[in-house]
């Protein structure tokens, strides 16, 4: 995209006087600004989304008064955090204290460069996209340890040490699961990973159920790898049930205890940037990124009717609670189905791969992460290590071998 952007800038006569390197630099700046704006706006929306989702899960209303239905709530929070006094504790290590949060934010924002939002819309088409993301996102723990150590507070020291142990021990199973995916595709480039998941095939290449050719249906081992990756990634971004570094009930506020005002907002921003990154990665690697689940527009029409029927039956029979709140999702699905049947153009657009499906999948994964947070209690430090070393690591190794054997069995590769 940067290439196309640079050429687009050079095409203007008035700007053609600039050297190609300046145009190139300008377009680089524009793209990175775009990414940062996306991450910031995304964090604002997600904070509001999380407070509303947690409220509905807890039988209450969530922010309602600030703006219509509380929509401006996070804007008000951000503005208020701007006005807060910037406290740096006297006995804190000033340099580390200041750059700690920035390192975390930069590490989590920079990884978005390699995320392909749709087949044409991506910042940098790197051929080592996955490797780049994994290596950059491991710097986050450096920032956490820096922030925790610098604030000279026993609670944040505990938070920092716990998060260091946790993230390092979950890097390994996550890395091995990613190798399993790369083994199937043969390339680290996220764009080619998505392109390899196009079209429809049968489940696990073996049971003749027509399903989109996503990696989650590629083989039972990759199916397991999807969940192993989700668990490992939840641990890596310190979200419940693995949120012991900033557990409110034990460590007051974990490594964020001594941070106030804007500095603390950076932590909040990077937490949600990481969550979005993980959601995108899960949808790219296992749910076929911007691939559409329906091969053609007829598929879209039939697919959406099935979704509406399932939603209607679920609301009427299973939950047996037909009130104003539970009608909304069924109504939405109904409208889309009618539109798909009436306007073939709309159905075609639905069936075609594009940014719509990318954000739908990422959104559902984010909703899942939030669902985890508001239902599960918190694991203890040693149980967390046990889960990582004794459960997920062997599982990811088995997945790696299993994928290779499966591909040999189903004839994808010949020895």
């Amino acid at each position: 995209m940067i290439q196309s952007l640079a050429n687009w800038i050079l095409s203007f006569e008035v700007l053609s006087g600039l050297g190609s390197s300046v145009a190139w630099g300008l377009s680089l700046f524009v793209v990175s600004a775009l990414i940062f704006v996306f991450v910031a706006a995304n964090a604002i929306i997600l904070v509001y989304f999380e407070r509303k989702v947690s409220a509905f899960m807890q039988v209450r209303l969530g922010p309602m008064r600030v703006g219509k239905f509380g929509t401006l709530q996070t804007v008000a929070d951000a503005l208020k955090l701007l006005q807060k006094e910037d406290i740096i504790p006297r006995s804190a290590d000033k340099v580390l204290f200041i750059i700690g949060p920035w390192i975390i934010l930069i590490a989590s924002v920079v990884t978005f460069a390699a995320i392909p939002f749709s087949d044409s819309l991506l910042a940098a088409n790197m051929n080592i996209g996955l490797f780049y993301i994994v290596s950059i996102s491991s710097i986050v723990v450096l920032g956490i340890v820096m922030a925790g150590w610098a604030s000279n507070n026993k609670w944040s020291l505990y938070g920092a040490m716990r998060s260091a142990a946790q993230v390092i021990s979950y890097e390994i199973p996550v890395g091995i699961t990613l190798i399993a995916v790369v083994a199937v595709v043969g390339s680290l480039n996220l764009q080619t990973i998505i392109q390899a998941q196009g079209g429809t095939g049968n489940l696990f290449h073996w049971i003749p159920i027509p399903l989109p050719n996503w990696f989650i249906f590629h083989s039972p081992f990759l199916f397991l790898a999807a969940f192993v990756y989700l668990i490992g990634a939840t641990a890596e971004i310190n979200r419940t049930p693995f949120d012991i570094p900033e557990s409110e009930s034990e460590l007051v506020a974990g490594f964020m205890t001594e941070f106030s005002g804007l500095r603390w907002a950076l932590f909040f921003l990077s937490e949600y940037a990481n969550a979005t990154l993980v959601a995108f990665l899960v949808s790219i690697l296992f749910l076929g990124g911007w691939q559409s689940p329906f091969s053609n527009y007829a598929g879209a029409q039939i697919g959406f009717t099935i979704i509406t029927l399932v939603a209607a039956m679920w609301t009427v029979f299973v939950k047996a609670k037909v009130n104003r709140l539970s009608i909304y999702p069924v109504g939405l699905a109904l409208i889309i189905t009618i539109a798909a049947w009436l306007f073939p153009g709309f159905a075609i657009w639905l069936a075609s791969p594009g940014i719509f499906w990318m954000f739908m999948k990422a959104g559902s994964i984010i909703f899942l992460l939030m669902w985890f947070r508001w239902t599960f209690p918190r694991l203890r430090v040693d149980q967390l290590m046990y889960v990582s070393w004794k459960v997920i690591l062997p599982l990811s190794l088995i997945n790696l071998m299993g994928v290779a054997v499966w591909m040999w069995l189903t004839g994808e590769i010949q020895f």
Binding site: P63, V66, A78, K80, A253, M256, F259, W264
Partner: protein
Amino acid sequence: MGALNHKFNENILITSLDKLLNWSRSGSEWYFQFGLACCAIEMMSAAAARHDLERFGAMPRSSPRQADVMIVAGTVTLKMATRVKRLYEQMAEPKYVISMGSCANSGGPYWQHGYHVLKGVDQIVPVDIYIPGCPPRPEALIEGLLHLQKKMREEHILAKKED
């Protein structure tokens, strides 16, 4: 905002900017999770399902650095008074104090024979809003928060002080 405080004279731009800042501050009062006694239980039920404090943007924060409003909910004994003062000083600057319950207002039922009770938290900490009641109902706490919001809206952060 320390450097910009009260430096500009009153004009359209500044007052509207003041209004925006006041709106944002009053819209997200993060209260300091700090319960002492019976009033803390009423504060918890105010934060729970029926009277949801989150509707007004009030989120409980357990660290003094990230809280704006300190709700002193319960009896401040002399042994606890030094801690309350230190916690107040640890909070970041635009900070407010709500004294919830007659124990925090004036010592309450323990006024006459309470040798170990501090007669009113305003002896150690500047209080913005007093909420009467023993314990005040969650609705009273919400009314206190709304009064604090009204008080925040009238503040002038950027405009010069008219002294």
